[in-house]
């Protein structure tokens, strides 16, 4: 939990490992995938027509945080991280 973005003074579950575009990241289990990626400095999550995509609404409405988990399209803000998750840009 070395990201400067994680607020100190909060008890979090143990860290797990996940991969984003081949790079290993660590995050507390159950944290939202959107938050975990943000904490790891991964803000560019994919590309829409004519513009990049990244997290925007955090509530499952805007469809801008789409990524693929084991190939399956998901909204990162609605997906809790699990150990071994394999994530790629959408």
């Amino acid at each position: 939990m070395t990201s400067p973005l994680r607020i100190p003074g909060i008890l979090r579950p143990a860290e797990i490992s996940l991969t984003f575009e081949g790079e290993t990241l660590r995050a507390p289990e159950g944290e939202s995938l959107a938050a975990a990626l943000l904490a790891a400095g991964k803000r560019h999550l994919g590309d829409g027509p004519h513009a990049p995509r990244g997290l925007l609404c955090m509530m499952g409405v805007c469809q801008q945080c789409l990524v693929r988990v084991e190939g399956r399209l998901v909204q990162a803000c609605l997906t809790p991280v699990r150990d071994g998750m394999w994530v790629t840009a959408a």
Partner: protein, 479 residues
């Protein structure tokens, strides 16, 4: 045997939690459906399991509602994605109204459906962001989004943050960022000093909220955070991600550039009316309530019998008013179902109606500040994307309007704006405002036809396993 619920409540925010609790405590068969893994909605969003955060007033209020809900006997369906609504008036011509039907995917992603005599929509709101140059840069997020990130995920949106938009959320987010060690490079408030002064009388109906707001502002003052009143974000800059913002007074003037790695910006909240539109309930346009809202009576009944709407989804009145509105709606439903006498109902309702009126007054003043400001739409440059799902610029929308698209449906047909997976949620407000300028207002512009699915639904989960022989193919077409 299929259960027919007395009341199905859609959305477990403060209104939904309170409504389900009230109805279940009085013996009704209630089911509460919620997309998140835990009840709470946006304002009282629960952190993930195992996260323990220092408690605050909001956390305590949310926990209180959750505890009462858990003890009430209401059935909870958490982690579900409701994609379909039906029944009620959505039956063949001449048929009597049917019980309401909800279709969804459960927490494991499997299809399910349920039936209820009454449907109470507590779907809350979503954030409105009016497009501006650079708004698609990663690093730009919503104001409500930042709140969720901070409160539910315990995370800062960036190290050097600009907070922009309108309403009290601005100061709440800025204060919280400071508290947790982020640098707040600027607060850019669309509201002028005058607007805040004029809102004070209504705000004083809730001295606790007033005090909280004053405390936030004091913290900003202490830390020397520049607060720009009556100003907007002119542009977000950066090569691949956000690097800086440019701000400008609404009355025009020089632009000021501020470096930042995060811009948290929100232009108000809009009631989420997808489900009530799907039922063809009547709606009206009320800028002070967030825009299009269902037409409701004093007890939150819509124009569709058996369909009620409570909470901010019924019109922006703030989280404090939401539980009262949920309880009023639940009691109305029980009365209409014949599960409560009118005398008991009147007595039970009275205190909640008082609560609601008081809370709504302060909430209303805040909502007015968050109402859509047409100047922001006018300022959208031609080459700026309005519809992000389909890549439709302002120029393309203007061209479609020039070519005779004079309703939201037709604008969609001519430009593809709103045809993508967000189903018009990101682009709808800006597109409607652009249309409104041509047709004389938002009422005339209307909204696009409400259709299913209420949210994109994975084909895979919908289909399940099936045999070809299972498919009920209708009679062949004539040759």
């Amino acid at each position: 045997m299929t259960v027919v619920w007395d009341i199905a409540v859609l959305g477990a925010g403060p209104a939904g939690m309170a409504a389900a609790t009230e109805a279940a405590q009085r013996g009704a068969k209630v089911v509460l459906l919620e997309e998140s893994p835990a009840p709470g909605g946006q304002v009282y969003r629960a952190p993930p399991p195992g996260f323990v955060m220092p408690t605050d007033a909001d956390r305590r209020a949310g926990d209180g509602l959750r505890a009462a809900l858990a003890a009430s006997g209401a059935a909870l369906r958490l982690g579900v994605r409701i994609w379909g609504v039906g029944g009620g008036p959505l039956v063949p011509a001449g048929d009597a109204p049917a019980p309401f039907r909800l279709d969804g995917l459960d927490a494991e992603g499997r299809p399910f459906d349920l039936t209820a005599r009454t449907l109470l929509l507590c779907t809350g709101t979503q954030e409105r962001i009016i497009p501006f140059p650079g708004w698609t840069l990663p690093g730009v997020m919503g104001l409500a989004a930042a709140t969720i990130l901070l409160k539910a995920q315990g995370m800062l949106p960036g190290r050097r943050v600009v907070v922009a938009g309108a309403g009290p959320l601005l100061y709440a987010v800025a204060a919280k960022l400071l508290k947790h060690g982020a640098a707040v490079a600027a607060v850019v408030d669309l509201a002028s000093h005058g607007e805040w002064w004029r809102a004070l009388p209504a705000l004083s109906a809730r001295p606790d909220l007033l005090a909280r707001g004053a405390a936030w502002r004091a913290q900003l003052l202490l830390k020397g955070v520049p607060v720009h009143a009556g100003a907007r974000i002119a542009a977000a800059e950066g090569v691949a991600v956000l690097e800086a913002v440019r701000l400008q007074k609404l009355q025009a003037g020089p632009e000021r550039r501020i470096e930042a790695d995060s811009l948290c910006i929100g232009h108000g909240l809009v009631p989420a009316i997808e489900a009530s539109r799907a039922f063809r309930a009547q709606h009206r346009y009320e800028p002070g309530l967030g825009g299009w809202v269902p037409v409701l009576d004093a007890e939150f009944r819509s124009s569709v019998p058996g369909l009620l709407v409570a909470g901010d989804g019924a019109g922006l009145r703030g989280a404090a008013a939401a539980p009262a509105s949920g309880r009023i709606a639940a009691l109305a439903a029980l009365r209409d179902l014949g599960l409560m006498s009118s005398i008991t109902h009147a007595k039970a309702c009275a205190p909640h109606k008082l609560d609601f009126a008081q809370a709504a007054r302060a909430g209303g003043a805040m909502a007015a500040m968050m109402a859509l400001r047409p100047a922001l739409v006018a300022a959208i440059p031609p080459e700026t994307l309005v519809c992000r799902c389909e890549g439709v610029t302002r120029a393309a929308i203007d061209a479609a309007l020039d070519e005779g698209a004079l309703s939201m449906n037709q604008l969609k047909q001519f430009s593809r704006c709103g045809m993508g997976p967000c189903q018009g949620r990101l682009c709808g407000e800006a597109a409607a405002e652009l249309l409104a300028r041509r047709v004389g207002g938002r009422e005339a512009a209307g909204f696009a036809t409400g259709r299913l699915p209420l949210r994109p639904v994975p084909m895979d989960a919908l289909l399940g396993e099936f045999d070809y022989a299972d498919i009920p193919v209708p009679a062949a077409a004539p040759i």
